[in-house]
Symmetry: D2
Subunit: 347 residues, 4 copies
């Protein structure tokens, strides 16, 4: 932590800063500068003191501003855990050399719909079936999902097709229920900072697909992951799904693919990309899926519906079964060009 003093700061104000630091048994290193003084704390500050100390110092007279020199997360950081985390579920590995694809409808709508989805997902070569049962909807008047029945339908359809499942959980008291049906718990973008939910997700021990909030910085995103890790669950996958766009004339979100190489450097956790929400327009999803793989994503999560024009939600961004199949076929040579593989059911 560096405390930068105002140009006109007095000797006694500088002394005041030193005293607060030393009261906490930390060292204070005063750096006289040409125009102003800066004070460094050349020792590790316990994470639970970090914020309160910065707050206290920032409120002292003569202080211009306080700058953190280290990142606020630790368990998520590659600096303290250099090897890639690979989340293993059955024989599916996420974070290894094979780029995984999770696909399926926005919402589970009926047994027929989810079974048809599962068959199409399987045929295309994806290994995880997605499908929402508890749906976060912007409007209270929109379809809210089939709830537990939806989870059961999702589970059954996936098992018949030999697929894993991922579905969203929206409230801490339902983590246990959702976890009994699915292989991966999704925490949605709007809940990225729902801390009671993150804590329960941590305690559940289930693999977690954590989506980035639409205006979350990467530090905030990694701190949300830190909540899960800190509660004992090492199996966290980070999912970039688009940030708030400059305008919505042509897209729903701005897919932030910069986050892929940056996260791969900052953290050991697998990085997933959702091109469907990331652009929000069906015919542009393949281009963004390809870009995500080229940028280094470990997995994709893609919306597909057996009949997009009749989908109860997210139809405009859902691929048809044929489009998913074409996409997978296009991604395989692309993956190869960047040294990755994608599952091919034909082999």
């Amino acid at each position: 932590m560096i405390i930068v003093m105002q140009v006109a700061a007095s000797e006694s104000q500088i002394r005041g800063v030193r005293e607060v630091i030393e009261t906490r048994s930390l060292k204070a290193l005063v750096m006289p500068g040409g125009e102003r003084v800066a004070i460094g704390i050349p020792s590790a500050i316990p994470p639970e003191e970090r914020e309160s100390l910065a707050g206290q110092l920032g409120a002292l007279p003569g202080v211009a501003h306080v700058t953190h020199v280290t990142r606020p997360y630790k368990l998520a950081s590659r600096e303290f855990h250099s090897a890639d985390t690979v989340v293993e579920i059955g024989d599916v590995r996420i974070g290894g050399n094979e780029v995984q694809v999770m696909a399926g409808p926005c919402a589970v709508e009926s047994r027929e719909q989810i079974q048809a989805s599962a068959r199409a997902v399987r045929a295309a070569g994806a290994r995880v079936l997605r499908g929402g049962a508890f749906k976060p909807r912007t409007s209270p008047y929109a379809f809210q999902g089939l709830q537990e029945e939806g989870l059961e339908l999702l589970h059954d359809a996936a098992r018949e097709a030999g697929l894993l499942t991922v579905s969203e959980v929206m409230q801490p008291d339902l983590v246990g229920l959702v976890a009994t049906y699915v292989d991966v718990l999704q925490i949605g973008a709007r809940n990225m900072q729902n801390y009671p939910l993150l804590i329960e997700a941590g305690r559940s021990g289930k693999p977690i697909l954590l989506k980035r909030g639409p205006s979350a910085s990467l530090d905030e995103f990694l701190l949300a992951a830190e909540y899960v890790l800190h509660n004992g669950n090492p199996n966290v996958m980070l999912c970039e799904r688009g940030v708030h766009p400059l305008d919505r004339a042509y897209v729903r979100n701005t897919l932030d693919l910069n986050a892929v190489p940056v996260l791969k450097e900052l953290t050991h956790l697998p990085v997933v990309v959702d091109p469907s929400h990331g652009i929000g327009v069906r015919r542009h999803v393949p281009a963004m899926a390809a870009a995500a793989v080229a940028a280094g994503a470990d997995a994709l999560i893609v919306e597909m519906h057996p009949d997009p024009a009749r989908a109860l939600s997210d139809g405009p961004q859902s691929l048809s079964p044929d489009e998913l199949s074409d996409l997978m076929a296009r991604l395989r040579p692309l993956g190869e060009a960047v040294g990755r593989t994608l599952h091919d059911p034909a082999r």
Copy 2:
């Protein structure tokens, strides 16, 4: 709803759009244009069909884009409820002529701290004591609040001082508990789209202070309020607390005061402003509080701590008791200049 066709759309594509509309027993009005055709739906679309219809139409061949001409919320809209909603709690009215001030510490830390806060809040002329017991913290290592004990301390301190209380609830299964202790339930910015929480807040019947999310559009904000209203609770206060800033070199958020006159026109609900989070720097809070009153806010919520330099959270943006008192003294003539009053305990 207006469906704009591509320039090269064919007759049969236009017919396809008409058919989908008419299947839903709605009228389709084809407007031949100079270069392209647009199709209007000149009738009220039930809110629960709005999104799925737009999705379905947007996925049809030949359609360029679909534009909504009406707003997606209804109970929150002033068009269907023209008189101002005034939330009445005891003898305090929020949304009437008197500008109310809610003040207190970010977090309840101890009996002494919250009692001192309550006395200072009372002395300054504010009528509602704020204080967090369940704290949403970006880092899992930061102080998380005293939980139920904090609620009890808040309640006791407020009652002794003759104040009302507001405190945040973060998860749906705790709405009942928090509601037994406080007069106003706060839903934080990070939970603005936590729908299970909004639904419980609606069912509770308690006055709700709903904070705007850091990248929420006003439509998304009003739809979040619509969730509460739709679940039977008319007492919703909308709180602007700053949106994601261009950068954080000097501020924590960008207080969006444009939202004040715009919301006052769009909705009948009271509008509250939080200048403390809205700028995040103690010495600038008074300027922004004054600006909020001038812009037409019905209430302010302000962080104050008996000893900001020792606050466990948000010290850098908390006023001291004297600063709060000075602020109230400055706001009274300002309120008068815009035709409003502020409570004065000296009278």
Copy 3:
């Protein structure tokens, strides 16, 4: 400047950083930390070396990141020039106790229009007439302004009414021409980083109204002002006019009033607010003008048209003469409540 090393940085990498610093005749202060090393430069770095040094250090092996501890502007900073700059033009002082209002149409359209505008501006109590002659328009098909003829009409109308003038200049080779007609040169938001234009504006010696770009940070804004100051012109006024909004459903921009108290602290230059562009909706302009004065603005610039419904540009955000007059009448008591005055022609 602080150079933060990676956790795994080697001794020789730390030595490499020291050498680069010492080659420039600066001191390097190594701070051994608990987990990683940081290196401070405890001396003033000449501004022209600042960026290249940071670039060079950031590219060295073992360096995690480089943090500036001082601000990049100097002439604009209050730390080196503590007294408020007051721009004096004739008997009008901007930056003093009197809050000045500049008003007039977006564009000069005709002699009659600008004369009617001047009379209305004068009658309302504003002292500076605005009016565009060279118009930056998003579309090449929109009205581009009357150019030199417009300047002449503006000048004549203002002189008849006893007003000063402000008008925009868009290209460096026209600074001289525009400066012969007007009292204040405006540099528009889209040109905030048009450096050749800033340099010419600096050389002109004329008072400059510099508008903040729609996504400019305050550091970028102050560095743009620094260009003008550095080229010999001390008379710069900083104008906040709204930043890129979250969405444009109800407003044109997000007026960032946080910038007012923050700029007043960082710099000695006067701060002007443009509520017309800042919200973009005529009926909300008065609320935002009031908020700006309450926040501490030194001046306002407001669009007014004798007949807004017939304006060739910006009609939807232009006040009518009566609305301007009402606004001035409302601002006077408000100004008084915050210790400022506004000109009253009736006295």
Copy 4:
């Protein structure tokens, strides 16, 4: 254009809207809705009337809001020019099947530096040499470029190496000068809405590389291109270079690759991506370059410096010659995987 009336709009207000429309010899189609009336204009509105008409209608009593149903640009639109524009310069085609790479230093610094750059660019297989002579710099204290001497050095080095050139022009009165030295004129992000510059660029007839502004919507971007096209120059390349990021802790900008497929659909103009500014961190540039090609970019513009650690500007985001060579080698199989080619000097 659709005019949506307020719920409570009266018959005479509706008549008022019709009259304004009909006065302009346009048709007004009144659509009675369930709750409110909308009025459509089912005919092509001349582009030069578009904005003033919307302004006038928006200011009428009873009008809730005005919505455009058609896009404001025309020459840039694929709807009126369906075939891809291919910019041909000598034997280099931009917008065809071959993905072109433009590379070189941020700034021309010396004869040796630009010659070494040219050799490295040539060897890697790129065909266009970039190098700034007139540099837009945020700080007046930073290196501003070698100006005309820089252009001459750039030109000579490129001709020796058999390369084309691209360099930025910052002011309209220098378009002629810069055009005598270079093959492609770059208009920088900060000048995207510098209309006098766009007009001169249009008149010059030279191929234009137009960079998107950091907060420009795609409509604003395409309208900037429209200025160039409208002034008689069909050879415009659109360059995405990153938009304002959520924060700058790890990146300089947010590369908006969504813009690639969206622009390819909206317009016939070639789309270029600048991964260097788009992420701003050297070691992440290759990932983003690969993602850009996968997303469908027609060309890349990449910063490379013979010795990045000694670069006078943008060192932290510049590749070394070896890194550029490696990048090109990685992009070739990737291009092939998406059906494109990249030049290979070894063949």
